[in-house]
């Protein structure tokens, strides 16, 4: 396990209370209650279609919930647009399919939002972007276009792009699922480094090695419900729920 240099504070940065969501008539998220403290790293796993991605997409309101409360950074998520942008610039998100802007260079991908959303001067934004690109180990690719990079490099750019907004929370939506096996490690290494720096992280992933190494707690979801939340040791060695046991046996024994 990664050493916690910064102790987890007990003040929750994300608080979800009895939240429900429907897609039309389909009940995707059922009675979700979850607290995430400053600096906490949470891994969410579960079979496909269990609502993991939808859950973290609700946190920056890419999806709208219909019932219950979500409070991020003391701001309650409602239809009010002002709140929304305040939250989105504090919550970074990394997608399964990278979603880099193909018509902009790597550097421009990283500086666009800091310049226009945060109002940083161009020079400052570029300096910060180069610093973060160095952190994810691809400063030499700054002037290339996303289409010229490998999948792993693109995902690292996407991480740097999110970090350029200096978010307090980072959401990862299956960041390694679209990558070739030999590229998964470089992205996971970047994420581990980020975790070590004390970032609050919510990660949807099937990489159980990463979960064991980094997570403070692991959530197992099935059919829209949080079935079990536990620390990694208990989660992997003595899962409480039958469904968790079945899921773990399916993904670990192959």
């Amino acid at each position: 396990m990664v050493n916690n240099k910064k102790s987890i504070s007990s003040k929750p940065v994300i608080e979800i209370k009895e939240m429900h969501k429907w897609f039309g008539n389909f009940h995707v998220l059922k009675n979700i209650t979850l607290k995430v403290n400053q600096g906490e790293r949470i891994v969410i796993c579960g079979p496909s279609g269990s609502g993991k991605s939808t859950l973290i997409r609700c946190i920056n309101r890419l999806e709208v919930h219909q019932q219950g409360d979500i409070i991020v950074n003391d701001i309650e998520l409602t239809g009010d647009l002002k709140n929304l942008e305040a939250i989105r610039s504090e919550v970074g998100m990394v997608f399964q399919s990278f979603n880099l802007f193909p018509h902009l260079s790597v550097l421009e991908n990283c500086t666009l939002a800091p310049i226009w959303v945060r109002g940083l001067p161009k020079k400052e934004a570029e300096e910060m972007a180069m610093e973060l690109l160095t952190k994810v180990k691809i400063p030499e690719q700054a002037l290339k276009f996303p289409g010229q990079l490998s999948g792993g490099q693109q995902q690292r750019v996407a991480i740097a792009r999110s970090l350029c907004m200096e978010p307090k929370i980072m959401l990862f939506d299956e960041p390694t699922s679209a990558l070739d096996p030999e590229m998964i490690k470089e992205v996971l290494d970047t994420m581990i480094e980020l975790a070590e720096s004390g970032m609050t992280m919510l990660v949807v992933t099937h990489e159980m090695g990463f979960a064991k190494k980094v997570a403070d707690s692991i959530i197992f979801m099935d059919e829209g419900e949080i079935i079990e939340q536990n620390n990694p040791k208990t989660f992997f060695n003595n899962p409480e729920n039958e469904r968790t046991k079945l899921f773990l046996s399916q993904i670990l024994n192959h």
Partner: protein, 369 residues
């Protein structure tokens, strides 16, 4: 033996065998690969010789460039009688614009070159300065063409004609229809019902009506709708109709481009905290416009050629001037020369647009696939 020459892993890149590449290799494999192919090549060359000989003869060698009438032309030589063009070139370019004032149109043409350059080529060295000129150019051009200010003689609109008329309608239509088309395309995707409905109605109406009908409306009916006393010039009314018509098509082309952008692009922009207008400006439009270039230029070329339709409301574009020339008793029956000349003018303009769009597509291609 090769095995002895190179160790494994050190085999060099060798040149291809002789006679397979270069001019010789290409000729051999494409023109003379077999006996029948060789015969066909020789036969084609002979055919081409006679064709080109005939064409060059009619167009240039046996052609007459200066004569007073068709009969005189025929006396001089047997080829094309280009005299009908050279004697009337002033009309073809300026219509019936007074001789003494034609320098004004020349300045407008030269100005157009400098005004469009910075818009078409983003990497131009002194682009910033030229852009200022581009901004003022429409007003300069309007004053020069129309007159009535700064001591310039006012010129009646019914004297406008020829290529000058084509350029006025074509360029104004192209410049105005693009922004309107973009707004309509965004309007059609809007979440606001009122904006969306207006856009849809406008687009569907404009696309559903023949351009000629719109031109008749412009020439006759539009005056009924205007408050009494206003007198919009017929040219402005025609330009408005061309703009509306082209904008409706461009809106649909751009909508296609917008819909081709993956949903993830919007999600990424939203997740970064960008507003709708920021996303539209930096993410949606640059990508949608790039995809839509072929369709937009297609519409532009269509609009440019459709300017010949103004003949039905009594404006004399190059085609109209040509028809007048052909029906002149002196030049009666020289339709081939006249229409070829007009066709050449349109072809050169449209081909230039087409090549420009290809160049632009290449320049904006960042996919590197």
């Amino acid at each position: 033996m090769i095995k002895d020459l190179y160790k494994p892993g050190s085999y060099p890149n060798l040149a291809p065998p002789k006679g397979t590449v270069g001019f010789y290799g290409w000729t051999k494999s494409n023109l003379f690969s077999s006996l029948s192919n060789s015969l066909l090549t020789i036969f084609s060359f002979i055919l081409l010789y006679f064709l080109i000989d005939g064409i060059i003869g009619w167009f240039f060698l046996d052609a007459v460039f200066d004569a007073d009438s068709k009969i005189e032309c025929r006396k001089i030589d047997s080829g094309a009688c280009w005299a009908v063009i050279t004697r009337r070139i002033g009309q073809f370019i300026y219509g019936f614009y007074p001789d003494a004032e034609r320098w004004r149109i020349d300045i407008v043409f030269i100005g157009l070159f400098f005004a469009s350059a910075p818009l078409l080529y983003p990497d131009l060295p002194i682009r910033r300065w030229l852009l200022w000129f581009s901004g003022f150019y429409p007003f300069i051009a309007f004053i020069l063409i129309n007159g009535g200010l700064f001591g310039l003689v006012s010129i009646e609109i019914n004297l406008f004609g020829g290529f000058m008329l084509t350029m006025i309608i074509g360029v104004s239509g192209i410049v105005c229809s693009l922004p309107l088309g973009i707004m309509l395309a965004l309007g059609r995707q809007s979440k606001l019902t009122v904006v969306r409905s207006i856009s849809v109605c406008f687009i569907e109406f404009m696309r559903g009506v023949p351009l000629i009908t719109l031109l008749f409306v412009a020439s006759s009916m539009l005056n009924y709708f205007m408050p009494p006393g206003t007198n919009f010039s017929i040219l402005v009314r025609v330009i408005i109709m061309f703009t509306f018509f082209a904008a409706a098509y461009i809106a649909e082309v751009i909508r296609g481009g917008i819909q081709a952008i993956p949903k993830g692009q919007y999600e990424a922009a939203e997740a970064l905290g960008m507003t709708y207008w920021q996303t539209t400006r930096f993410i949606t439009l640059p990508q949608a416009m790039k995809i839509s270039i072929p369709g937009i230029v297609n519409t532009f070329i269509g609009l440019y050629k459709d300017t010949t339709l103004v003949i039905v409301i009594g404006l004399l574009d190059p085609l109209g001037i040509g028809r007048a020339a052909v029906s002149d008793t002196k030049w009666n029956g020289l339709s081939t020369e006249t229409y070829l000349f007009v066709a050449l003018f349109f072809f050169v303009s449209c081909f230039a647009m087409s090549r420009y769009s290809l160049w632009l597509e290449n320049k904006l291609n960042t996919d590197h696939r």
